[in-house]
């Protein structure tokens, strides 16, 4: 009798425990559902209100970007922040600036200030004729990535301005997998040290943005063959079949 009572009481206890654990799960689900509906409303606003709006995003610290999330202000900014989500979770890094030091024609507005923007896709003949646009197999044009109004900035697909020294944000719009690797250190190159301050090269340090694939190079000289040894190229002696050796014997050719 005592045994049976024990079993039933323990069974009740287990059931109560299961209910107790399931309760927050159900309530959590409903909460997430409301969140989804909120987000949908946000995106709807985004499409109607600020599709053409441009906004210059200067160097943002992490705290600032967090604020903008909470404020729920400009919704296009929120979408832009989503693109940068991995940047928040990656270990801290700084980049080697290129804008002032290495870009020959910067600031671009020195010349483009006076010139009228020509939106027509054409072959450049007077200026920048040495740039070969091989990126994106002819789907791109200068103004896909460069701001039309302010040439000192790059342009995201949502028409947000991107600083030249933050070009990884532009590249990451398509190459997001590479960008994630870059943030966490599996792609790209860290400068100088393995511990301490993490300083990275920008994408454009190694990849020409107009023709990004890495070009073949001449390799450094091969190692010397050790003294007293002779270099036998692979495949000359291992891949001879027995019947081939027999035929070579017949014709008097040498084989090892």
């Amino acid at each position: 009798m005592f045994k049976i009572r024990l079993i039933t009481s323990s069974g009740l206890l287990v059931f109560a425990l299961i209910l107790f654990y399931l309760n927050p799960f159900f309530s959590g689900q409903t909460a997430s559902a409301t969140k989804v509906s909120d987000a949908a409303a946000n995106t709807a606003e985004d499409n109607t209100e600020s599709a053409d709006e441009t906004k210059i995003v200067e160097e943002e610290t992490e705290s600032e970007s967090d604020d903008s999330d909470e404020e729920d202000g400009d919704s296009s900014d929120v979408v832009f922040e989503k693109l940068l989500s991995y940047e928040k979770y990656a270990p801290k890094f700084s980049i080697k600036p290129r804008k002032e030091a290495e870009l020959e024609n910067f600031p671009c507005m020195d010349c483009h200030e006076d010139e009228e923007t020509n939106y027509n896709i054409r072959l450049l003949e007077e200026d920048h004729e040495d740039y070969k646009l091989e990126h994106g197999a002819e789907r791109f044009w200068c103004l896909t990535c460069h701001q039309a109004d302010n040439r000192d900035y790059l342009r995201s697909l949502k028409n947000n301005a991107i600083d030249f020294d933050q070009s990884y944000r532009l590249c990451g719009q398509c190459h997001f997998q590479r960008q994630k690797d870059w943030f966490f250190g599996a792609h790209g190159k860290r400068i100088g040290n393995w511990s301490g301050e993490r300083k990275l090269y920008l994408c454009t340090e190694c990849h020409d943005p107009h023709s990004p694939s890495i070009k073949p190079l001449k390799p450094n000289p091969p190692p010397k063959v050790r003294k007293g040894l002779v270099f036998v190229p692979n495949g000359t002696h291992i891949k001879k079949k027995v019947w081939q050796k027999y035929l070579m014997d017949q014709t008097g050719e040498k084989h090892d």
Binding site: S195, L217, P221, P223, K227, N234, G235
Partner: protein, 315 residues
């Protein structure tokens, strides 16, 4: 005829020498300078003699007291000064706390430029004529992992070649190193940061470790390693890139002279494609841990149970 000539020349030189001695003998002041010169020569040779005697009785690195280490380093610096006429520093920095070094290499990015190979030779003072290179870049057939059919003497006009991939091989710094067990005099051991190092002065040159290593990572100085003095890297470590002599083993030691100060190994810094990633395996924030957790990685000859700390991965 030739013998006559030789005799003549001998006679001439002997005669001139006697003449000089005579001149020295006649003038007192000149004699005094001669004596001091001779004293200097004796003193210098005495130092050399005592140094060679001390180096004969030099202890194993790990059994030296800190004072003995200092004395040994001063002697090794004098030796390098005599050989290369250059002042070098020999560091004895111990392993960093809570650090286990590991390496990851992206074979989809390595293009076989061999920049790492030459950077390594220049950093680590390998003899330029002993033909020792710590890194071998193997050119492999795409889709094959047959190391025996790989080619490390490739020399085309441009790399990468179509249908090939490149697999650099160096010391894997095994957790279970067979070379250490093979050494009969314990001249090689695994440090606390996971790097397998050699006491070059304790090595007897039996080359057992060379045969024990399944990765062709250990190299023997068959002749005296010559480095042009202007190319000698003066920043060295006792267990790292200090000048070696004929008849000892040497191997990649993850550039301890650099990495124990937080700098990258020379091969990583020289790599133009960023295929090489070095870091601390015990730091969960490190780049190498990200790779091990998120990428497809493999190690060479895993079935041997040597537990290498050198991973290859693909994008």
């Amino acid at each position: 005829m030739t013998e006559n000539l030789k005799n003549n020349s001998n006679q001439v030189s002997r005669r001139s020498l006697l003449k000089k001695i005579g001149v020295l003998g006649t003038t007192g002041a000149a004699a005094a300078t001669g004596v001091t010169l001779a004293a200097q020569v004796v003193e210098k040779s005495g130092q050399e003699f005592s140094d060679s005697l001390d180096s004969f009785f030099q202890k194993h690195y790990r059994r030296m007291s800190p004072e003995e280490v200092q004395v040994t380093i001063a002697r090794l610096q004098r030796k390098a000064k005599r050989k290369y006429n250059k002042d070098i520093s020999i560091d004895t920095a111990p392993p960093l706390p809570v650090t286990l070094f590991g390496y990851a290499l992206n074979i989809s990015k390595c293009k076989g430029y061999r920049k790492c190979v030459d950077a390594c030779v220049e950093e680590n003072n390998q003899g330029r004529d002993t033909q020792i290179q710590f890194i071998r870049v193997l050119e492999m057939e795409r889709g094959s992992m047959n190391l025996e059919e790989s080619n490390h003497y490739y020399d085309p006009e441009t790399v990468p070649q179509k249908g090939k991939f490149y697999l650099p091989v160096q010391c894997m710094q095994c957790e279970n190193p067979p070379c250490v067990r093979a050494c009969p005099v314990k001249a090689t051991w695994k440090e606390d940061d996971g790097v397998v190092v050699i006491d070059y002065d304790w090595c007897i040159g039996c080359r057992y470790c060379m045969t024990a290593c399944p990765y062709w990572a250990r190299h023997f100085n068959w002749n005296e390693p010559h480095v042009p003095p202007e190319e000698l890297n003066p920043v060295t470590h006792y267990l790292g890139n200090r000048p070696r002599s004929k008849g000892v083993m040497e191997k990649c030691m993850f550039c301890v002279q650099r990495t124990r100060k937080g700098k990258q190994p020379a091969c990583m810094e020289a790599c133009p494609t960023g295929a090489r990633i070095f870091g601390n395996l015990l730091d969960p924030e490190s780049e190498i841990r990200y790779i091990l957790e998120n990428k497809t990685v493999f190690r060479l000859k895993e079935d041997l149970g040597t537990e290498p700390k050198f991973w290859y991965f693909t994008d």
